[in-house]
């Protein structure tokens, strides 16, 4: 037997690797960039009904391979019918970040298409053709920007060539706009040119001329989502909406404590219940990211499955299961946090202890935040069907590309025996980067003759998450006589699955701000072992540490008697690019504009305060200013949040602003009252009454401004969230003098 490796440890190792790759751009994206477009290039013309131009990039993996002998993977992004309908394929998962609108807009811009001529379809899952097909790390736009622009530009180039041939004029005398090629006042529509363009050679996508930003007609304006009409009329878009002939519904019961195995269950009794087709034990592979042991119930209807689940009795073997206790972990962390440093050194710059001794003023504080759940409103679900030698999925996944291999591995089949249909996703937030529900559905489908839709209940969704890890920070900082920050020491008590490195999403990098901006800086870890799965949650790491960083910086600015804005700007210093991507000039710009828009320094009503915070994450520079009021009963009201971001040029203004508005609500909701706790390995919160997301009456007014710098565009699903919590707690301090050091706010007696 091989060395015994705890599957839970393996799963966390994979999660950390997943997080790294998502943030760096997925392997699929790297592979796409590495693959050279076939030098001669060609358009693959297919005899689709109605004819027309189908643009498909051919990617030839073997340099020098002959066209006849090589295997080509066509990369179809768009199609133009002779009637002028422009069909654009969206390759990425739509998880609410608006990519199904943004990606086609980028193609349409370079194509010079009229947006109303465009219809958008979801592309098949095939990363060999499309490159990256994941949604995570706010990487969709930066990873695909060039690829999509070139897809549109190649088509435009060919349509111009076709028009030039028709008019017998040089191509460079022609222009394009509104889905047509123009020669002075004469025009030829793209539909009319489609057949002719289809017969032309395809130019090298790498050399085709792209538009200048000043020539953009579509990008930067506001567009409503391409699926919005279907959303508001209740069309079957989501994973959970999939219906296949003969489809049955499955419920899968896992051990409430992670790592428990099934000894036995009352299967005969369950199988005899009305509407139940089958019930069986799935051994699983013990990986939280794939298939944990459990009992499957397959029934005619969801209600029959849910009723049967109520009667299911499973004898769990919990000998190797989680016994995590949040109350114990809190005590152990507090004990560990009494020491100025942990045994794992992450960063040690200068001489922090000496600098603190010599500081004019020092501040010490202990910050804690809890585990939280992703809680997407669409519970985990997946439809799977084992048929004709393949397993086919209809899956609301964030990582359709990776899911091919994950599912194949978990089910013991070849990757080419897995087919995935991408559905709309009812909320990602990082939860669906993992494809555990999909592997489970596949495993059940392999045991059942016919299509099966696996549905998780809300209770299961909260119990079996990859939680945002809680954390504990024992901090001391010092300023000199001029009020300048000279020393920062953080003993970060965090969690580990393998005993060696922090769990997924529970680490803090050495170059995280202000690590490179303080002359004496120390970051150490104490690692507390746990078994509860953790993972990436919207703006992983930043979603928790930004609050600690920006809250403690505010404390230090107050101790120094300095204005917070000035203190932050001084810390940024001269405009320069720091390792890790933070540009201090872009940071200073968003801080200044946020303060200006919010009226920093203005006179406020009694009980009101403004709070500022900045954070750089996912290539986005964001500063936010909260206006909060606090009454004598510690009831708070978030009146207004000003968000200023620099993510380069904006693709869809409405979509980008929506992400920021939602990020503020998510950040406020989470820091206000959300907390996941566990005892005896069991998650204690079961449904929304114990996990109270923010409701309509308490949403703030959110104002979003973008500094559209000349830097390449980057993503916006995540980076607006991290500054929310510190802006609010800094505003609470300004309003009432209470320094919040424990989240959620309800722990310190606040309510809305």
């Amino acid at each position: 037997m091989n060395a015994v490796l705890d599957p839970a440890v393996l799963a966390d190792d994979e999660l950390r690797s997943l997080l790294r790759s998502v943030e760096a751009g997925s392997p699929g994206a790297a592979a796409f960039r590495a693959v050279k477009l076939d030098r001669r290039g060609f358009l693959k013309l297919t005899g689709l009904a109605g004819g027309g131009l189908v643009l498909a990039f051919s990617m030839n993996r073997e340099a020098g391979a002959t066209e006849a002998g090589a295997e080509f993977s066509p990369n179809a992004f768009l199609r133009i019918s002779p009637k002028g309908v422009i069909t654009i394929y969206n390759k990425g998962p739509e998880i609410g970040q608006g990519i199904k609108t943004a990606f086609p807009l980028i193609i349409a811009e370079e194509l010079d298409a009229k947006w109303s001529d465009v219809q958008v379809l979801q592309a098949p899952v095939n990363p060999k053709v499309y490159g990256r097909q994941s949604a995570g790390g706010s990487r969709s736009i930066p990873d695909s920007w060039d690829q999509l622009r070139r897809a549109g530009a190649v088509a435009r180039h060919m349509l111009v060539a076709a028009a030039a041939a028709s008019w017998k004029v040089p191509a460079d005398t022609l222009t394009t706009r509104d889905s047509a090629v123009w020669n002075g006042n004469k025009s030829l529509g793209y539909g009319a040119l489609a057949r002719k363009a289809a017969a032309l050679p395809v130019p090298d996508a790498e050399t085709v001329k792209l538009k200048e930003r000043s020539e953009y007609r579509l990008l930067g304006k506001s567009y409503t989502g391409v699926d919005n009409r279907q959303v508001v009329t209740g069309a079957p878009l989501f994973g959970i909406d999939q219906q296949l002939p003969g489809m049955k519904i499955a419920i899968y019961q896992r051990c409430p404590a992670t790592g428990g195995k099934v000894r036995g269950a009352n299967l005969d009794e369950i199988k005899a219940l009305p509407g139940v087709r089958d019930a069986f034990i799935v051994e699983g592979n013990g990986k939280t990211t794939e298939i944990m042991p459990g009992v499957a119930i397959v029934a005619d209807t969801t209600w029959a499955a849910l009723e049967a689940q109520k009667k299911l009795r499973v004898d769990w073997d919990e000998s190797n299961a989680s016994r995590d206790s949040w109350s114990e972990l809190v005590k152990r962390a507090a004990e560990a946090g009494k020491l100025p440093a942990g045994d794992k050194v992450v960063a040690n710059v200068g001489a922090v202890d000496e600098a603190l001794k010599g500081a004019a003023k020092t501040v010490s504080a202990y910050y804690t935040y809890p585990f939280v759940s992703h809680a997407p409103l669409e519970p985990q679900n997946c439809t799977a069907w084992s048929h004709d030698g393949i397993v086919e999925f209809w899956s609301p996944t964030q990582t359709a590309d990776r899911a091919l291999e994950t599912a194949a591995g978990a089910l013991g089949i070849a990757v080419d025996k897995v087919k995935i249909n991408q559905t709309r996703v009812g909320g990602g937030f990082g939860r669906r980067l993992m494809n555990d529900y999909m592997c489970e559905a596949g495993a059940i489908a392999q045991r059942f003759n016919g299509p099966v839709k696996l549905i998780w209940t809300r209770e299961q969704d909260l119990a079996h998450d990859f939680f945002r890890a809680g954390g504990f920070h024992s901090l001391t900082g010092g300023v000199d006589a001029q009020g300048k920050l000279i020393a920062w020491r953080n003993h970060f008590v965090t969690f580990t699955h393998d005993g060696k490195v922090p769990s997924s999403g529970a680490d803090w990098a050495a170059n995280q701000f202000p690590g490179l901006s303080v002359p004496n800086y120390q970051l150490t870890n104490t690692l507390l072992p746990i078994k509860t799965p953790t993972g990436p949650w919207r703006a992983p790491r930043s979603c928790s540490v930004a609050w600690v960083i920006q809250g403690f910086l505010h404390e230090l600015s107050v101790a120094a008697g300095r204005d917070h804005r000035d203190f932050l700007l001084e810390l940024m210093g001269e405009p320069r690019l720091l390792e890790g991507g933070l540009h201090t000039g872009r940071a200073a710009d968003v801080i200044k504009v946020a303060c200006e828009k919010a009226g920093w320094g203005k006179k406020l009503p009694a009980g009101h305060g403004l709070g500022l915070a900045f954070h750089f994450s996912h290539s986005g520079h964001f500063a936010e200013v909260a206006e909060v009021s606090v009454d004598k009963d510690k009831r708070i009201r978030l009146h207004r949040m000003v968000v200023v971001g620099d993510i380069g040029p904006i693709v869809n203004m409405s979509g980008a602003a929506n992400q920021c508005e939602g990020g503020v609500v998510d950040g406020f909701s989470t820091m206000l009252g959300l907390e996941i706790t566990m005892e005896n390995g069991r998650i204690e919160q079961s449904n929304f009454h114990q996990y109270p997301l923010l409701r309509m009456a308490n949403h703030p007014k959110v104002e979003v401004h973008f500094i559209q710098s000349e830097h390449p565009p980057t993503g916006v699903g995540e980076p607006a969230l991290p500054p929310v919590a510190p802006a609010i707690t800094n505003a609470i301090y300004a309003a009432c003098g209470h320094r919040v050091r424990t989240l959620p706010l309800t722990k310190e007696g606040f309510s809305v």
Binding site: D227, N228, T233, G234, T301, L377, E378, V425, G662, M696
Partner: protein
């Protein structure tokens, strides 16, 4: 099991189900109307909101057996015709309200019940009427704006 007669979106439909079955699963599994969503199963999130005789109810927690004789309207039946959307649906599109979109059918149904009784709602009216509907993506600001826009259109069309 029993044969249950339901009046859904202007049609008489029949479902052969246990009367204790929540309306949600009859709509989704038996009638194929999947616009009404499952979010919590405990009437906590509002994703399953439909109208029964014009009143918003949570279909996940309403046994179908008690709905005989009531007119059920789901998101699929809200628009006056296949070509014409309800002013709320139109406003939702204009304001680009949805992010993931999963909660929006329930939000729109709650808003429809509100506007039917309170054609010119105040912000406080909206807070009260929409309190049962969670939006995990946080689109509340746009939902509020869209309700005001739709209310304005309804008022305009009646003037």
């Amino acid at each position: 099991m029993a044969s249950i007669n339901l009046h859904v979106n202007g049609k008489q439909l029949n479902a052969d189900v246990d009367p204790a079955t929540p309306l949600l699963w009859v709509l989704r599994d038996s009638l194929g109307l999947v616009g009404t969503k499952f979010g919590c199963g405990m009437a906590l999130c509002g994703a399953c909101t439909v109208l029964a005789d014009g009143n918003p109810i949570r279909a996940c927690s309403t046994p179908v057996g008690g709905l005989a004789g009531q007119k059920i309207t789901t998101i699929e039946g809200l628009a006056p015709s296949a070509k014409e959307l309800h002013p709320l649906q139109q406003a939702w599109i204009e304001h680009d309200v949805p992010q993931c979109g999963y909660c929006q059918a329930g939000q729109i149904m709650s808003a429809a019940a509100l506007l039917a009784k309170t054609p010119k709602p105040t912000d406080a009216d909206i807070d009260a009427a929409m309190a049962g509907n969670l939006c995990r993506c946080g689109t509340y600001q746009r939902i509020r704006a869209a309700i005001h826009t739709a209310a304005g259109k309804l008022a305009g069309s009646k003037a």
